[in-house]
């Protein structure tokens, strides 16, 4: 039994199906990456896992428990935490308050949270400099850092990261990926959705999605750029 099992997952918007029978597994402790073009259904997949989008059929099993259709409130408490595309930090709360809300399921545990904050700030020392600043006034990169830090506050067993590199400069993208790597090494399972192929160097496992299904899967290191190109374009290079 894998840590996260997706079986025959199907869903869509209105009458239009997006996923039809999607299946894949993520093992505990690894970093998995979902690659694919715009509209391939990556974000839909990750939202459905996180309970933010309704599944039409199929199942999601996490840590041996069936979690399909569960409320995100409960999923966060179970340890599945999403870092959404577009960051979605709370623009008019300070960084401190944003982090505090990240630890919502553990809001009673003040001591533990302080520790968590220290840890999060260790990953992103830049956040400490702007501690009392409104999140909305941060730069895009800083907001992404804050979003990840906020996700860490919920003590995730599994982190779902949606398009973390979007709109970031290559240098910043590198930093963010680096931190994700560290987080993973510290014991958190990670599932990333990416369009940036640079992510492959930290992926233990990679899936390429097209039109709602997995068209390629394998170890991240095994995938060379030609393979990826093939997956993206649907034709050999």
């Amino acid at each position: 039994m894998s840590f996260l099992e997706i079986r025959d997952l199907s869903t869509g918007y209105g009458a239009i199906p997006v996923l039809q029978g999607l299946s894949f597994d993520v093992e505990e402790g690894e970093t998995a990456v979902l690659l694919g073009l715009n509209g391939a259904g990556k974000t839909t997949t990750i939202l459905t896992i996180a309970g933010l989008h309704e599944a039409w059929g199929g199942s999601v099993t996490f840590d041996g428990k069936e979690i399909t259709g569960r409320d995100p409130k409960r999923l966060v408490a179970e340890g599945i935490v999403l870092i959404p595309e577009g960051r979605h930090v709370f623009p008019q709360l300070t960084i401190a308050q944003n982090l505090r809300l990240g630890a919502w399921p553990y809001r009673k545990d003040r001591g533990g949270n302080r520790e968590r904050i220290e840890q999060a700030v260790e990953y992103f020392p830049r956040l400490r400099e702007r501690w009392a600043q409104m999140a909305g006034t941060l730069s895009g990169g800083e907001q992404q850092m804050l979003a990840i830090a906020r996700g860490l506050m919920a003590r995730p067993k599994m982190l779902l990261i949606d398009e973390a590199s979007l709109g970031l400069s290559p240098k910043l993208t590198h930093t963010v990926f680096d931190v994700v790597r560290q987080i993973n090494l510290a014991g958190t399972t990670v599932l990333m959705v990416e369009q940036n192929a640079g992510v492959l160097k930290l992926a233990d496992r990679a899936f390429v999605m097209e039109k709602g299904t997995i068209v390629y899967s394998g170890a991240g290191a095994d995938m060379n750029s030609a393979d990826i190109r093939q997956a993206y374009m649907g034709a050999p290079a």
Binding site: A50, L52, D71, P72, K73, L75, V76, A77, V81, L82, P84, H88, V89, F90, P91, Q92, L93, Q97, R100, L101, G102, W104, P105, R107, M134, R150, A154
Partner: protein
């Protein structure tokens, strides 16, 4: 900090007028004192409006009717059936209206949670109008009187109870209002900035999707907001009606809602102390306008008033000026 400056400036101006015109019967002194206390009452209702706006970015036009209905329920228990003492009647009304707020949240707000805010605004209007109809139906349109907790005149001696300010006897009810509105502004301010639940409500209003992401139950915060909104609306009605005019269906909506909204807007719509300060400004403006229109006529006859309904004109002008010139209000920037 800025609150302090604004309050200080207003207090300074008011104090100056009071000192300069002390003892002048024709002057606006009495009007200023009346305006101050009237303004506190507006502030009370405005606090509830600000709460809903902070929490859901909606203007709650049903707030006034929460108050009117609460006053009616209290009237029913205290004066009509005469079954409970005053305090208990108030408590019943508060509970009933809070439940009504939760009902409204479930039936109207939740289905429209992701609709545009203007849709929800129209829905609150419809709900307010529905409550007016229910009040008419259940309590009939004849004006009633909900007595204050403590009468302004001591029944035994015939002497006024409260202190006198510039010829105006401050009634105990008005002092209660000032006390309650200050306590509410302070405690709600603390609630939003210091407690997790308060933060969660603020967060919901800023990015509902993200609150789901971090695992906050959206339904619960929404319930909490509308329950609190109904409670505050009811409290405002229960305190304001005995200190204001007669009790009749729709009375708070037609007489107090716009001044209260103006107070909230002047305060910046998100600032709780701002609501109180805005209330004071609106109350002062209204009474000064009434004073002026009572002293200057278009012709030589008293019925040729400068402007009839000058209090409403003053409120409208204030609203327009604030929205055009300083949309963030006197105190509003942060949530």
């Amino acid at each position: 900090m800025r609150t302090g400056v604004v309050v200080g400036v207003i207090a300074g101006i008011v104090g100056l007028i009071l000192i300069l015109g002390w003892g002048d019967v024709e002057g606006p002194n009495g009007s200023i004192v009346i305006g101050l206390f009237q303004g506190a009452a507006y502030g009370l209702l405005a606090v509830g409006l600000v709460l809903v706006y902070k929490g859901t970015r909606v203007f709650n036009f049903a707030a006034g009717e929460f108050g009117t209905l609460a006053a009616f329920i209290a009237f029913l228990f205290i004066h009509q059936w005469k079954v409970v003492p005053y305090g208990l009647g108030i408590l019943f009304a508060l509970i009933a209206i809070t439940l009504l707020g939760l009902f409204m949240e479930r039936v109207i707000v939740r289905p429209l949670m992701h609709a545009p805010r203007v849709t929800l605004l129209v829905a609150t209007i419809a709900f307010g109008l529905l409550l007016v109809g229910v009040e008419l139906f259940a309590f009939r349109p004849e004006p009633k009187n909900l007595h204050p907790l403590i009468q302004g005149i001591d029944q035994a001696t015939g002497q006024p109870v409260g202190p006198e300010l510039a010829g105006y006897f401050v009634s105990p009810q008005e002092m209660v209002i000032v006390g309650v509105v200050l306590a509410l502004a302070a405690s709600l301010g603390w609630f939003f900035s210091k407690t997790d639940l308060g933060l969660a409500i603020l967060a919901t209003s800023q990015d509902a999707f993200a609150t789901r992401v971090v695992g906050i139950g959206v339904a619960r915060t929404s319930q909490l907001i509308w329950g609190m909104a109904a409670f505050l609306g009811a409290l405002a009605g229960l305190l304001y009606v005995p200190a204001g005019g007669a009790l009749a269906p729709g009375v708070i909506t037609t007489q107090t809602l716009i001044p209260a909204f103006t107070a909230a807007v002047i305060g910046g719509m998100t600032s709780l102390p701002g609501a109180f300060v805005g209330g004071i400004v609106v109350g002062l403006l209204q009474q000064l306008a009434l004073w002026a229109s009572g002293h200057y006529y278009l012709g030589d006859q008293p019925w040729q008033q400068l402007i009839p309904g000058s209090a409403d004109v003053a409120v409208f002008a204030a609203l327009l000026v604030v929205l055009l010139a300083r949309p963030q209000g006197l105190l509003g920037t942060e949530a």
